[in-house]
């Protein structure tokens, strides 16, 4: 019983992290119908920016409790620097191309950004542990968890709830849903689809950067941070259904719990099991559990 509780708590924390990491990807796919591999880059950029800004913040003796705001701000700043540049500068000329070609283009951009990060920050690891330890810890049964992990869960809930509210409750959300349904018709109705694409890409990337920023205090920030995130995020949104918000949540939950179970009961298959579940879902429910994407299948 004790173990199951641990598995669940661990699973939920991991799921929250996965959700924040993956939701931007599904948003961009849902609206723009592109598979965006620079997602991993923004995650890494968020982590590095957070490391730099927060490190500087703490070094100058500013209030450590505000470092959480700095994490947030770092993600925002770094996104605003790179996202519009990428979308307006390169991507927007490519929308007419085949979806796989666009995926390849974002792959090329990802490669470029990986090295850009190395050029800016070098290859040595960065550590900013302070925000992690500051909030102390809490206990569940016999296990102790850093309270910091709850922040991640909190962000996941806020992000998920906020996006849902945005899409269902606001006028902007309604317009966005129109664009999702049919960009051509939306354009014909006078909706500024280009602007929506820019905003979506930026916001989706911001969410990735946010995930990276808030992960930074828990790991050593090194090159290659963005790579695994991409495949994990894909696993999450494929399982949940590409382009679906509740799908991303469900996918994150499933992957999180499955991985947690694997770590506790069969650690050897930890990496394997996530991709296995993805392959399974693709095999039996290719549209994911809730989905907008139609897999091209005879």
């Amino acid at each position: 019983m004790e173990q199951i509780l641990t598995v669940i708590v661990d699973g939920i924390i991991y799921s929250a992290w996965l959700f924040v990491a993956a939701v931007g990807l599904t948003l961009i796919y849902g609206v723009m119908k592109i598979v965006n591999l620079t997602h991993g880059s923004f995650y890494a950029l968020g982590a590095y920016a957070a490391a730099s800004f927060t490190g500087a913040w703490i070094a100058r003796g500013y209030p450590p409790m505000l470092s959480y705001a700095v994490l947030l701000a770092s993600a925002a700043i770094i996104t605003l620097v790179f996202a519009p540049l990428i979308e307006r500068g390169i991507l927007r000329f490519m929308y007419a191309k085949d979806e796989v070609v666009i995926m390849l283009i974002t792959y090329a951009l990802f490669l470029i950004l990986e090295d850009t990060i190395k050029l800016i920050w070098g290859v040595d690891p960065y550590f900013i542990a302070e925000p992690y330890g500051l909030l102390g810890s809490f206990e569940v049964g016999e296990m102790t968890y850093p309270t910091y992990n709850l922040i991640l869960v909190g962000i996941a809930v806020v992000a998920g709830g906020g996006l849902t509210l945005l899409l269902q409750g606001t006028r902007v959300g309604k317009l966005l849903r129109t664009v999702i349904h049919d960009p051509e018709v939306s354009r014909a109705m006078g909706i500024n689809v280009d602007r929506f694409y820019l905003i979506t890409f930026t916001f989706g990337s911001f969410l990735a950067a946010l995930g990276g920023a808030f992960t930074a205090p828990t790991v050593s920030v090194v090159p290659g941070l963005g790579v695994e995130i991409i495949v994990l995020s894909f696993a999450v949104i494929v399982i949940g259904g590409m382009g679906s918000l509740p799908g991303a949540a469900l996918g994150a939950l499933i992957v999180g719990l499955v991985r947690s179970a694997a770590i506790h009961y069969a650690p050897a298959v930890e990496l394997f099991v996530i991709y296995f579940v993805m392959a399974l879902v693709l095999a039996f429910r290719p549209r994911g559990l809730f989905s907008l994407a139609e897999p091209r299948k005879i």
Binding site: I105, L109, L111, F234, M278, L282, P286, P295, I298
Partner: protein, 311 residues
């Protein structure tokens, strides 16, 4: 058939390489042999690309071929190059035969993502596998050919010769396959699957066959690479490895069976030069090159050599 002429060129080039072998420095022979190994994988990708399918996880079979070769040496003491390549191809083909039942049902990004997931599954398994050396991988036994072990000085040359011969034979067979009705179905599948079915052919079957052939080719490439490098590790299944193959294929285009080898050669040169100049910007160089090719040479390098027909 145009293919025949390009094959003669390929044959001539390979022959020249083989002959010039002793004159080439060791590192040059290394690059060329790796280019041939990767060229085989790019050829495999091309086979699928002609049908409109992009495999984001071809490294799966490359790695299977490599690990088969390595395992033959480590666990069975078999160091014969040819045997390793053939077995690598066979194991890869077998796995592909099974996985093909799943994969042949998908297209577009789902085909890509599923193939990616499968390659990452292998990666995950290998990393956790102590028996197979985990992240350190295993070293390959020095190669033998027909029971003879070449001496230190000439082993690279021997590997090059055997590699060239096998690659040439494989390309010949693939070229012939492309001339058969099933082989020619690729463009039709890409254009209009419905029509293909209504003509009485099974699209799924055709794709399954191509998938298996592609796996076999990749397996040979992997085994050859393993022999050349002398070492195998799980990174061979990692998705960035698949990305390199994709780049080579995009660079090469799908017009000719010879193009993948040209692309691999150019890739090898870019890689070596870029790494020499600045190891920290290799990925950036690759990324920029990929972007440029996609935007300006969508048909690949081969299109520089003349268009087959007006659009």
């Amino acid at each position: 058939m145009k293919g025949d002429r390009t094959l003669i060129i390929l044959g001539a080039v390979l022959l020249a390489l083989v002959g010039a072998g002793p004159l080439l420095p060791q590192w040059a022979m290394f690059i060329v042999t790796i280019a041939i190994a990767k060229g085989l994988v790019a050829l495999a990708l091309m086979l699928q690309l002609r049908a409109g399918l992009v495999s984001f996880g071809q490294a799966l079979y490359y790695c299977i071929g490599a690990y088969t070769a390595g395992s033959l040496g480590r666990f069975f003491g078999i160091s014969d190059m040819l045997l390793q390549m053939i077995t690598g191809a066979a194991v890869a083909a077998f796995v592909a035969f099974i996985l093909g039942f799943l994969l042949a049902r998908y297209r577009g990004i789902f085909y890509g993502l599923l193939s990616l997931a499968l390659s990452m599954i292998l990666y995950g398994l290998l990393v956790k596998s102590e028996a197979l050396g985990s992240t350190d991988g295993i070293n390959i036994l020095p190669s033998t050919v027909f029971g003879i072990r070449p001496d230190q000085g000439s082993v690279r040359h021997v590997v090059l010769i055997v590699g060239c011969a096998v690659a040439f034979l494989a390309t010949l067979l693939v070229n012939r396959y492309l001339g058969t009705p099933l082989g020619q179905l690729a463009a039709a599948i890409k254009d209009n699957e419905i029509r293909v079915e209504y003509m009485g052919a099974s699209v799924r079957e055709a794709i399954h066959v191509k998938y298996v052939i592609a796996a076999a080719l990749s397996g040979i490439g992997g085994a050859l690479a393993a022999t050349t490098v002398g070492h195998i590790d799980p990174d061979m299944a990692y998705w960035t490895t698949s990305g390199e193959f994709i780049f080579i294929t995009i660079l090469a285009g799908t017009r000719s069976v010879v193009a993948p080898f040209l692309g691999a050669m150019i890739f090898g040169i870019i890689h070596t030069v870029a790494f020499d100049i600045s190891p920290n910007t290799w990925q950036m160089t690759l990324g920029i090159a990929l972007l440029l090719v996609i935007v300006f040479l969508p048909e690949g390098l081969w299109s520089l050599f003349g268009r087959r027909k007006a659009a």
